[in-house]
């Protein structure tokens, strides 16, 4: 316990301006809304995590260690639905985006603060409905809600869940709308598009996906609800409907949604790599435009989820080609980050460990994505554990690593306090090791042919499943440690000061925690981001 000797000056900032519950629940301050989201999604992450732990435990035995197949199906459905719609999608955008976008732009708040608060309430309304469905008995559609299974054959709480996800979708739409308008209209004087931090570019691309994609999944889920309520036959082949249409509508959103999860993390990594190597980013324009390219091409690749669904082989070939194309901007980013390290002054605080972990795991996740985009290989690998491993490398290895890195990097700004860096590094390494142990064996399982969503499985797959479960227990431990030291830091952590990392960026020019209106005076921007070379010049001159 190292408590600081420096007395905390009685400064009014956004956290201590008002302590009442009302001031939090009715706040329009983007920084406080970020905290509301942080608390909410940490809760949802825990719910989804518990489901994951139970699944992995069950898979220790080929016949299922704990639960019946029906319960197992509910576990993986809850895990997918909660983690994707209530953790991954809002994670970096709603927490870090809300907190950072106005700060990085030198603005007092987002363009529509009340809409921003409304978004949180909408999110919570959707989340509560899904939680109700889970408590009332669960849902076993899988997060993909494929018809006609979801519409005609299941008697679980599909209606409440679909409605909950539908409602939460509007939260994404409103948040995306708010961010796009904010980024367009609220930039500080001198902050031109190419002086924006890359995190902002990533959030811009993400918001575009929110705006364009989310309405489509909203309408698909509304159609599911309608079909269940009135049995009108839109997706029921017996009445002339087409179950494949649902898959098209669903993946039109849900594939871009993958980029909603990964793009913000890419933005975070660009910030972290520059800050901890004290270098300007290598290839700023290439990274910025690759975000936009990924968002744009991401809308044209949904059919790669359906190579074996019975869609025409020509459609399959087109979608395969487009999916391959997404690999290029992703590769460009990885190379540029690596090149940024060249001749840097690199230090290894916890956020940097997460950033480097991100690059490694995202590289594996991205490369294995190529297997699945290759039509002939997808015929074998589709819907096996290879797919499970691939998207966990992207979403957990990539997106969650980025999220953890972001929380560790900006925590001093959010809370005004430091956390024990030693513990944080240990946790980062535990998470990295546990993650690989959990998910790497699943690539092999998938290649061997083990299908996903199997409650019971042939005994020859047991060894790899046991290794995976062992890894999951390490991973679980890795996620508990930060919860403890962040809780400690929020109250007892040493005072951080405005710029603990000696980083550039407008958010570091104001106090930690920032005053309610972010900046005492509206900042004026005169140069490109990541101006570490200029700092070097200044030190030289001094």
């Amino acid at each position: 316990m190292s408590s600081t000797e420096v007395p905390i000056e009685p400064r009014v900032h956004y956290l201590n301006a008002d302590y009442s519950i009302k001031s939090w629940l009715l706040t329009t301050d983007h920084k406080r809304i970020a905290w509301l989201y942080l608390i909410a999604i940490t809760f949802f992450f825990t719910v989804g995590g518990v489901a994951a732990v139970l699944m992995r435990l069950n898979l220790l035995e080929p016949q299922g260690l704990l639960v019946e197949p029906e319960t197992y199906n509910k576990l993986f459905s809850s895990h997918g639905i909660v983690m994707i719609f209530f953790f991954m999608v809002p994670s970096i955008p709603a927490v870090m985006g809300n907190f950072l976008i106005p700060l990085m732009l030198g603005a007092r708040d987002v363009a529509f603060p009340r809409l921003n608060l409304l978004s949180w309430y909408v999110f919570m309304a959707g989340g509560s409905l899904v939680l109700y469905a889970l408590i009332a008995g669960g849902v076993d559609t899988g997060w993909t809600f494929y018809t006609p299974l979801s519409t005609l054959y299941l008697n679980t709480h599909v209606m409440a869940t679909a409605t909950g996800v539908f409602i939460a979708g509007f939260s994404s739409i409103l948040t995306g709308l708010n961010f796009v308008v904010t980024i367009h209209k609220m930039r500080a004087p001198g902050l031109t598009w190419f002086r924006l931090p890359l995190f902002i570019w990533a959030m811009y691309a993400t918001s575009i996906i929110f705006i364009i994609g989310t309405p489509v999944i909203a309408i698909s889920l509304a159609l599911i609800a309608l079909e269940r309520a009135f049995h009108v036959g839109i997706f029921d082949p017996a009445l002339g409907g087409d179950p494949i249409l649902f898959q098209h509508l669903f993946w039109f959103y849900s594939h871009p949604a993958v980029y909603v999860m990964i793009l913000p993390s890419m933005g975070v990594v660009s910030e972290l790599i520059t800050s901890f190597s004290k270098k300007k980013i290598f290839g700023y324009h290439f990274i910025a435009f690759s975000s936009v390219a990924i968002a744009a091409i991401g809308f044209l690749v949904w059919g790669h989820h359906m190579f074996v669904s019975g869609q025409s082989i020509y459609a399959g070939l087109v979608f395969s080609a487009l999916s391959m194309a997404v690999a290029i901007p992703s590769a460009v980013k990885v190379f540029n980050w690596t090149a940024t390290l060249y001749k840097g002054s690199i230090s290894y605080e916890a956020p940097m460990l997460y950033a480097l972990g991100f690059i490694g795991l995202f590289t594996i996740g991205g490369l294995t994505g190529l297997y699945l985009a290759t039509t002939a290989l997808d015929q074998h690998l589709h819907a096996t554990y290879f797919v499970v491993a691939h998207f966990h490398y992207i979403m957990v290895g990539g997106a969650v690593m980025g999220y953890m890195g972001a929380i560790h990097y900006w925590w001093p700004k959010m809370s005004g306090r430091l956390y024990p860096d030693g513990w944080a590094r240990v946790a980062a390494i535990i998470i990295f090791v546990g993650f690989n142990l959990t998910f790497f064996p699943q690539f092999v399982l998938g290649y061997l042919g083990m299908p996903r969503r199997y409650a019971v499985y042939p005994p020859e797959f047991q060894t790899l499943n046991v290794i995976s479960t062992a890894g999951a227990s390490i991973l679980g431990l890795g996620y508990v440690i930060p919860l403890i030291y962040f809780a400690w830091s929020a109250r007892y952590g040493p005072v951080a000061g405005p710029n603990p990392w000696n980083a550039t960026g407008l958010e570091w020019t104001t106090a930690s925690p920032p005053p309610t209106h972010n900046f005492e005076e509206t900042p004026v921007v005169t140069e490109e981001p990541y101006g570490y070379d200029r700092i070097a010049e200044e030190i030289q001159v001094a």
Binding site: P102, R108, P113, V181, V232, L239, D242, L245, L249
Partner: protein, 216 residues
């Protein structure tokens, strides 16, 4: 919450920035609306191509004359809305209130025709899949699919109309209290964009549902 005298909310530097932000926000919102309706249009188009005869038969069961009348009503309401925006820009409060009321009345007429003269009628005729469907011609299940889309698309559209009526009511109260002036009429313009958008959606819905393949 900004107090009522401040025309510019605290997060903005000036009125112009606020105005631009509000307009851009509305345009983006309309973009999401296009995607929302787009999902329905896509589904409708797919099925129409699969079951052309059944969809044409379904289309034939709709009352195209009443549909055309409703289209005219809605276009008139767009005109009064445009005039309301103009009145707001020139700071004429009485005219603004008059045009807002006419827009609301025309919207109400549209909804009356839609619900009472069309939906209720179709329900009684046994054309409501899932509730009361008695159509027994060839390919009845595919005709049901047509009506499913019909009710869904016109229903979602009507829902937007009802929301629009709500917005108009709020604007009317604000106008009555004298909240708008030549310098401050953001809300009216934005509501106008929204109203025109609903109108345009109907302009697409009408031929798609009533006219394509209809026999005159």
């Amino acid at each position: 919450m900004p107090n009522s005298h401040a025309i510019v909310a605290e997060q903005f530097d000036d009125r112009e920035q606020q105005h631009e932000a509000a307009s851009l926000g509305m345009w983006i919102f309309l973009g999401t609306e296009i995607m929302f309706f787009g999902g329905l249009f896509a589904g409708y188009t797919v099925y129409r191509n699969l079951y052309t005869t059944a969809f044409e038969a379904g289309s034939h069961l709709l009352n195209a004359k009443i549909g055309a009348l409703n289209t005219a009503v809605l276009i008139c309401s767009s005109l009064t809305m445009a005039l309301a925006v103009h009145a707001a820009q020139t700071g004429k409060r009485k005219r603004l209130m008059g045009f807002l009321v006419s827009t609301m009345v025309l919207g109400g007429v549209f909804l009356y025709i839609k619900f009472i003269l069309e939906w209720l009628h179709e329900y009684r005729d046994g054309l409501a899949p899932g509730l009361h469907f008695t159509y027994s011609g060839p390919q009845a299940s595919h005709v049901a699919l047509f009506f499913c889309f019909y009710f869904l698309m016109t229903g979602v559209h009507a829902l937007h109309m009802i929301v629009g009526e709500g917005i108009m009511t709020v604007l009317l109260i604000m106008a009555w209290r004298g909240k708008f002036s030549e310098r401050s009429h953001n809300h009216i313009e934005i509501a106008g964009l929204y109203w025109h958008f609903i109108d345009i959606v109907w302009i697409f819905l009408f031929p798609l549902l009533y006219l394509l393949g209809a026999h005159f």
